[in-house]
Subunit: 338 residues, 2 copies
Amino acid sequence: MAGIRDVAAKAGVSVGTASRALNGTGPVSAAARERVERAAKELRYVASYTATALKSGRSRNIGVILPAIDRWFYGKVVTGIADELIDVGYELALYNTQGSHEHQEAVLGDYLWRQRLDAVIPVSLQLSAAEITRLLSMDRPVVGVGGPMPGVLTVSIDQSATGALATAHLIGLGHREIAHVTGGTDPERDFHLTDSRRGGFEGEMSRAGLQVRDDWVLRSDFTLGDSYRQAKVLLSGRERPTAVFAASDEMAMGVILAARDLGLRVPDALSVVGVDGHEMGEAFGLTTIRQFPERQGARAAQRLLTHLADPPPPDDINLHEVLPTELVVRSSTAAPGE
Amino acid sequence: MAGIRDVAAKAGVSVGTASRALNGTGPVSAAARERVERAAKELRYVASYTATALKSGRSRNIGVILPAIDRWFYGKVVTGIADELIDVGYELALYNTQGSHEHQEAVLGDYLWRQRLDAVIPVSLQLSAAEITRLLSMDRPVVGVGGPMPGVLTVSIDQSATGALATAHLIGLGHREIAHVTGGTDPERDFHLTDSRRGGFEGEMSRAGLQVRDDWVLRSDFTLGDSYRQAKVLLSGRERPTAVFAASDEMAMGVILAARDLGLRVPDALSVVGVDGHEMGEAFGLTTIRQFPERQGARAAQRLLTHLADPPPPDDINLHEVLPTELVVRSSTAAPGE
């Protein structure tokens, strides 16, 4: 395998010039750079990034920490991040805490230090103030996805507005008896997200003078299966809602399956709206608030890369960036049947 | 932040001894090792793995290359790998080719070399002979997930047997008019997988003296939505099958949704069986062949770690390891209705 010496010899420059040209770590003439790059290409020279990292202090490695990877939202966010990074030659170091606080501790306390990461993207992590301080003490750019964190650059949708938008859609259609499937039982999820969407629901109900019934707020775990089981109980009751707002599309699809199993037609007997824009929603005719998680991941990566290239002055930093969502109306919502 | 010198001073040993004790790179007495480890812990010393990697040639970093991360199978495989690695302090470098051959080229030709990876796990990649040669020329352990690759350690289920098992289940129930939803239109998927499952279906049909109708083999892309649309056309035809074997649970769920939309009761008018063991399948009552992808990922990581700790002699290597699957019978399959 060709080394930097071979490249320098072939290009007719010193090793130092070849190194500066390839690593962008110092001044070098355009002509020399071109010769070095051609030589490197011809020799199939690939720098050892481990060695380069030691010298430049840059590893071109971004750490992504998340509580799960086998869930729709996280898979999409990581896809968005990976897509941005691959094009600029950055690596992605994945840390899956699996919702375990012990793993999160290990990652924040040790893993992140060991590998020289240029920057870190925590996704939907519930971090304590001490953990945030520790993360920021790495003195590397941090951009979070999922919700505001004190002192940290973040990218997310407005969770509360999302809940309000979904609820307003149902109220606008004439619904007054509205149930909500929220999160809260899934240790892998950030509670703020769930609470914020629920807050949006409650706020909108209250504005319309409608009552939120405690027994019509189902605490689920963001899975289709659990929501399905709970919705079956809810919809089998003597009194039942004419509409359900579920805090995720998977949970909304669970409600639709439960309704169908009970012979309740959607939307005639029950309107259902979710949040996500899950691909599967289309076959269910699911009305939803699309949240484009790939864009959230991509935007976080872009902010990091910008920051690495040219750190903005502290005052200039818009800490929390809110990305837009979109109401997609399909066939699962309509005016309540008589 | 404490350096190796501080640790050595506190432990009362030389820097060389402290380094050997912490990195396991040479002989050191048990007593010295214990003192060094205690000192490191008290000082919250964390080795720079970049520096350690240069010296030891080990980065404790495993590369995982896959064609997508936002699909059920891949999310589960990565979860299984990450779970094994986090406990032993290995890092996971994620390379998502997004099904782009250009990205795959970049990863194999450049990315993998740059970072010093201890080992590589390609997941369901369609690699050419040249690409496999290049991968093996890194002289690092490689364990693939998804199917046999010439000369490479691999872990997977028996795709053909899976297709045969699902088909035999339907035939055993008395079905003779059986359709198949296969893959083939998704560039992100390994074609071998699809062809092998389909081969199992065709073999079992043939053994039972049953005919495979070309117009009843739907080429889909492993998504619920596409299978739903295609199944709607199939099931609206004048002649229709009494059973469908779909090569994935998502596609099987698409068939069930299509049947319901057309007023066909499952399983009375149509039996449906899938492959995966997708969590969502339960709410659909879906009969399936569970394939435990987390175990596939975990097993690949275990083989790699064993290999790294103690490389087996070449003759000893069982190149392709087949993991078991499990038929789970739920309510989507039954004897054909009259």
